[in-house]
């Protein structure tokens, strides 16, 4: 599964994107965020306030409760400030 990071989430994680193997027991967006946050300090800083993180599955906005299902791309980013 490809994971993409944008804006300050990208800066804190230190990566634009990466490929991961979903570990057993990680079935929802919020479980994936908790698993990522435990990886190292950068991830921990990126996901320190998980409630502000926005998520897209295959380029559609989803809530944190959403199941990852068969999504091929997950993206994490702050609230949007375009326009």
């Amino acid at each position: 599964m490809k994971i993409r990071y944008f804006a300050w989430v990208r800066e804190r994680v230190g990566l634009e994107e990466e490929e991961i193997e979903l570990p057993a027991g990680v079935a929802s967006v919020s479980e994936l965020m908790a698993w990522l946050a435990a990886r190292d300090e950068g991830y921990a800083a990126a996901f320190a306030e998980p409630e502000v993180i926005r998520v897209a599955l295959d380029q559609f906005h989803v809530e944190h409760e959403a199941p990852l299902g068969g999504a091929s791309e997950v993206a994490f980013f702050p609230p949007m400030t375009g326009g």
């Binding site: 906005h61 609230p79 949007m80 400030t81």
Partner: protein, 164 residues
């Protein structure tokens, strides 16, 4: 076109572009009105980069390629289904943008003005809260400042359009 694809439930010519280059408003208006005699109202919204009273030297606009076009497209299709538009164009720039320069353009064309005004207003409210773009401020002194924070006012603006 796939014969089994559902027919869109609107007639408007919808065009969405995400690009580094600037745009020409008169040309975009002409695209929606030239050769037509049924367009009575065209509303444009142009968003420009402010220098915030001299504080900023530029904005850096990051976006999510692919999703940016797709999400603006979904908002535009919802607007086209909701109002009787003849055409709708949305252009959003990315990259470094200097104060005074254009960031975003919405052009909504319709027979009557109410639909054009409301569709353009709706587009901007949802583009602000749903299109995957992020602004980083570069300070006039040269130091890189932080990311622009999302405003609660943008969420409440978008909430105006929820039908009860």
């Amino acid at each position: 076109m796939d014969k089994t694809a559902p027919k869109p439930d609107y007639d408007a010519a919808v065009s969405v572009r995400v690009q580094a280059d600037d745009f020409d408003i008169t040309r975009e208006i002409a695209t929606l009105s030239e050769g037509r005699r049924d367009v009575g109202a065209i509303v444009t919204f142009t968003g420009l980069c402010r220098d915030e009273d001299g504080r900023l030297s530029a904005l850096e606009l990051e976006h999510y390629p692919g999703m940016a076009e797709a999400e603006i497209g979904r908002i535009a299709e919802e607007a086209a289904a909701r109002w009787p538009l003849t055409g709708l164009t949305v252009i959003h720039r990315f990259g470094r943008i200097a104060p005074g320069a254009n960031i975003v353009l919405v052009v909504a064309a319709s027979r009557h003005r109410r639909a054009a005004f409301e569709a353009a207003d709706f587009l901007m409210d949802f583009l602000k809260t749903r299109a995957p773009f992020w602004k980083k401020e570069h300070l006039a002194e040269g130091a890189e400042s932080g990311w622009v924070e999302a405003k609660a006012a943008d969420d409440s603006d978008a909430a105006r359009w929820v039908k009860n």
